[in-house]
Symmetry: C2
Subunit: 197 residues, 2 copies
Amino acid sequence: MRAGKYLLGLWILAVLGSSLMSGSVSAKEYFTVKNNVLERPTGYREWVYVGTPLTPNDMNNGKANFQEFHTVYIDPESWEHWKKTGNVRDGAILIKEMTSVGSKVATSGKGYFMGDFIGLEATIKSKREFPDEPGNWGYFSFTNEDHKSIKKAAKLEPTANCNGCHQASAQDDFVFTQYYPVLRAGKSSPEKAVGGK
Amino acid sequence: MRAGKYLLGLWILAVLGSSLMSGSVSAKEYFTVKNNVLERPTGYREWVYVGTPLTPNDMNNGKANFQEFHTVYIDPESWEHWKKTGNVRDGAILIKEMTSVGSKVATSGKGYFMGDFIGLEATIKSKREFPDEPGNWGYFSFTNEDHKSIKKAAKLEPTANCNGCHQASAQDDFVFTQYYPVLRAGKSSPEKAVGGK
């Protein structure tokens, strides 16, 4: 009887341990979606930064499709998963915060320098929320036309608006990792993920 | 006697509480400096991102002084301090990780898109380590000439190399916050610091 209890205890520990190691116990989500409407996320500036594509207006006939600096973040749990497995987990959210070009010259040289925040977009991978979207990815834009305020909630974009380009041209599971050196370095490589190597 | 002990207990709790709230108990440093030599930091890609100035080679006669994207991070404790006080704490470290321009066209438009990591620089504010430097700021570069590898340790740069420009042109205590929208938004504003407002 005593040996039985001891073995039961060991078994519980083993199950708990393997769940913790696989991360399945703490599959936290960093978004709130209801009926395909996403509440505007907060806190993402304290997530993990992955890269900054830049499409300035002055290189795109005065008006870029995505204005202008695109700062991209991934939620912390998906980053941990990416470092370990090299895959984007179900439940991942990536944020694209848009910033204007503030100036084109600084003491460091000529170039492009960030101005103000002018928009916010998000993409989420979720089988539960987007069972019929390609790759289970849903896309959302909180950007207003005036580029001065952002919406409190956003409706799922029609599939054709975003998923076409992501499916055709993104390098890794609908994510443009070809432009995100932090994700490229960290793919299945916890030791290279954190820099300084 | 009993009332005396009670009051003493209350006083200790009050002192502990205010220390914890001001953050003075946990003044963790994110760097190791010995005799003006800084060990190459790691882990900074999981710190807080503040902005990405870009000085492309093709806009600077083929060779920018700082090549090319400059991704800037601040250590987490200094970020917490900045959000609360609007000041850079003594003991702060900022990292500038350099990335090449990988391409100039993508499905999102014409522009500048990140390639590979090609350099690493750091600046530290420390009265203890740099009592004679302007503002107590020390500057370090781990970048090698080949832009393919980085040094394991770096010597303090001569004051004239970096501090001149930072002192003359940086907006906030030798930090170029005019190009770092995350720092500007978060200055003394915990609620605006995290985005989505």
